[in-house]
């Protein structure tokens, strides 16, 4: 006769330890949700004060930022931030995708491994180092352009764009490369079998198939660019005037640390307001990203 093991146990099905662990996990999970909710509420309340004081339009669309004279128009900074980000993304996206294609498809294995290590390193360098190098090398290089255009020497929107390009490239490259790699090889095979050249197969089939991943990389890069403060502060000249490529600009992110120490009263509330505007930008970008990811997932099915 064989022994049969009973599946009934003396204890309840879930032990006490499991119950407690479940609660701990729940609390940890809730902590992150609560932080986000708290931040949102706090940003809206503290940043909303200045908007209530001056009015939405005068705050967002005002041309003059003069805290001493109680003028708090942040349009120049919004435009500067948007243009710097847009410029950086427009340059970094094609460059990044080409590098990603090279790494994923064209380069010999060892070279790709080495390049990837350098690109990862690039992503890990603190932004103040970028700012330092930008101030030492990039800004003086642009002096010549400014002289040619008859403008005074200073930091500029152009310098901010170049620095941001370098800073967001690693993100765009690595996300795009992953997306390109995950495209099934059969697509490329089918394209080759139809008489495509290797490059046609890559650019007409593989890259379009990786589109949602590449867009995700672009959105992540955009988020990083618009949120960057330190590096751009060191190369952009920081004049709160309407942006032009070769003139100094002040970005939203830079305005806060520059003026924080000596601000008070309404001025400080205006800085909160700038924070709120940035916060909204970042939220919109994140929502976009979620949307892109969802769409990409649906396409794959």
């Amino acid at each position: 006769m064989t022994n049969k093991t009973s599946i009934l146990s003396g204890r309840r099905t879930k032990s006490l330890v499991e119950r407690i662990m479940n609660i701990i996990f729940l609390v940890c999970g809730l902590a992150s949700v609560v932080s986000v909710v708290f931040m949102t509420v706090y940003m809206v309340v503290s940043g909303g004060a200045i908007i209530a004081e001056t009015g939405v339009f005068r705050f967002l669309l005002g041309h003059v930022w003069n805290p001493g004279g109680s003028e708090f128009g942040i349009l120049p900074m919004i435009l500067s931030s948007v243009l710097a980000t847009l410029g950086a993304v427009l340059i970094a996206l094609p460059v990044g995708v080409l590098i990603a294609v090279f790494l994923a498809k064209l380069s010999p294995g060892k070279l790709a491994t080495a390049m990837r290590a350098f690109i990862d390193l690039l992503a890990g360098i603190p932004s103040v180092i970028y700012g330092l190098l930008g101030a030492l090398l990039l800004v003086p290089a642009i002096f010549k352009l400014q002289a040619a255009a008859g403008l005074p020497n200073s930091g500029s929107l152009l310098a901010a764009i170049v620095i941001l390009v370098i800073m967001i490239l690693p993100t765009i490259i690595s996300v795009s490369e992953t997306a390109i790699r995950s495209v099934p090889k059969q697509y490329e095979e089918a394209a080759l079998a139809l008489g495509s050249t290797r490059l046609q197969a890559i650019f007409k089939v593989t890259v379009p198939a990786a589109k949602s991943g590449i867009v995700a990389g672009m959105v992540l890069g955009t988020g990083r660019a618009i949120g960057e403060a330190m590096a751009v502060m060191m190369v952009s000249g920081n004049a709160a005037i309407m942006p032009e490529l070769l003139r100094p600009v002040r970005l939203l992110t830079a305005a806060i640390p520059i003026e924080w120490a000596y601000s008070s009263g309404l001025h400080r509330q205006a800085l909160y307001g700038i924070g709120l505007v940035l916060f909204v930008f970042i939220m919109v970008i994140n929502l976009l990203l979620r949307q892109v990811m969802k769409k990409g997932g649906a396409q794959d099915e």
């Binding site: 095979e189 079998a193 008489g195 495509s196």
Partner: protein
């Protein structure tokens, strides 16, 4: 015997040190279906891929001997591989439509070969889909993603995609192995239709399929062609003992 469209002479292929094809001599007649049968790993798929040089993408492959299409050695130095692949289209084991619309899938080949005119493309798309017996099923949703079709439809779409580049030879690598019986029989009927205009070489694991659709059958074993004859002879009157064992299911 009908004129030969494609033939190989003393074809040897190595994957690194592995000798995968050993002196294969095979004639593939025009407007006929040649079936390649044999157990897994016998080299029949590898052989098929040498016929449109898809093995070029694998770095470790070395090839000697001749593969001749319409009197031209396809491994000659001055061969344009893209034109070769246009002339010898391929259908793969599992359906692999591009993640694009049905229309763009079919128009892909003509487009990369330089066709831009919308009217011409429209015509090619319709004709190819008709020839692949799938037009009626998809004509109302040409702009919809091809990946929304069923497996059998996807495979016929892939056949249509190959036809769109106006090939002369169709190479099919177990085109029905991922499909259900109904889709399989549709594709078999289609192959029967297509051989009027194309020379077809098909790899299949399914003996009945080879018997049903092919005019000639070649039996591969361990990288060699053991027997090659009309399909009727191979199946009813095999000359080699190993062929008989294989088709009667004693091994493989």
């Amino acid at each position: 015997m009908t004129p030969v469209k494609m033939h190989t002479r003393a074809l040897n292929l190595f994957y690194g040190e592995v000798h995968a094809l050993k002196g294969v001599d095979l004639d593939m007649p025009e407007q006929c279906v040649t079936a390649l049968i044999g157990p897994s790993g016998c080299g029949k798929s590898t052989f098929l891929k040498t016929l449109n040089r898809m093995n070029d993408t694998i770095a470790s492959v070395r090839i000697s001997g001749e593969v001749v299409l319409d009197g031209e050695d396809i491994y000659a130095k001055n061969v344009d591989v893209t034109t070769l692949r246009k002339k010898a289209g391929m259908v793969f084991q599992s359906p692999n439509p591009f993640p694009m619309s049905i229309y763009d899938n079919i128009a892909y080949g003509p487009r990369i070969h330089g066709e831009k005119k919308r009217i011409v493309l429209d015509e090619i798309v319709e004709q190819s889909l008709r020839d692949a017996a799938i037009w009626d099923e998809v004509k109302d949703r040409l702009k919809k993603p091809a990946l929304g079709l069923s497996g059998g439809q996807q495979q016929r779409l892939c056949i249509a995609r190959s036809l769109a580049t106006k090939p002369e030879v169709l190479l099919m690598d177990e085109p029905t192995s991922a499909l259900d019986p109904i889709s399989t029989s549709k594709i078999e009927e289609l192959i029967d239709e297509l051989k009027r205009d194309y020379s077809i070489v098909i790899v299949t694991h399914n003996m009945q399929q080879a018997a049903r659709i092919s005019d000639y059958t070649a039996f591969f074993l361990l990288g060699e062609v053991v027997e090659h004859n009309t399909t009727g002879d191979v199946f009813s009157n095999p000359k080699d003992r190993r062929t008989e064992d294989y088709i009667t299911g004693r091994f493989g």
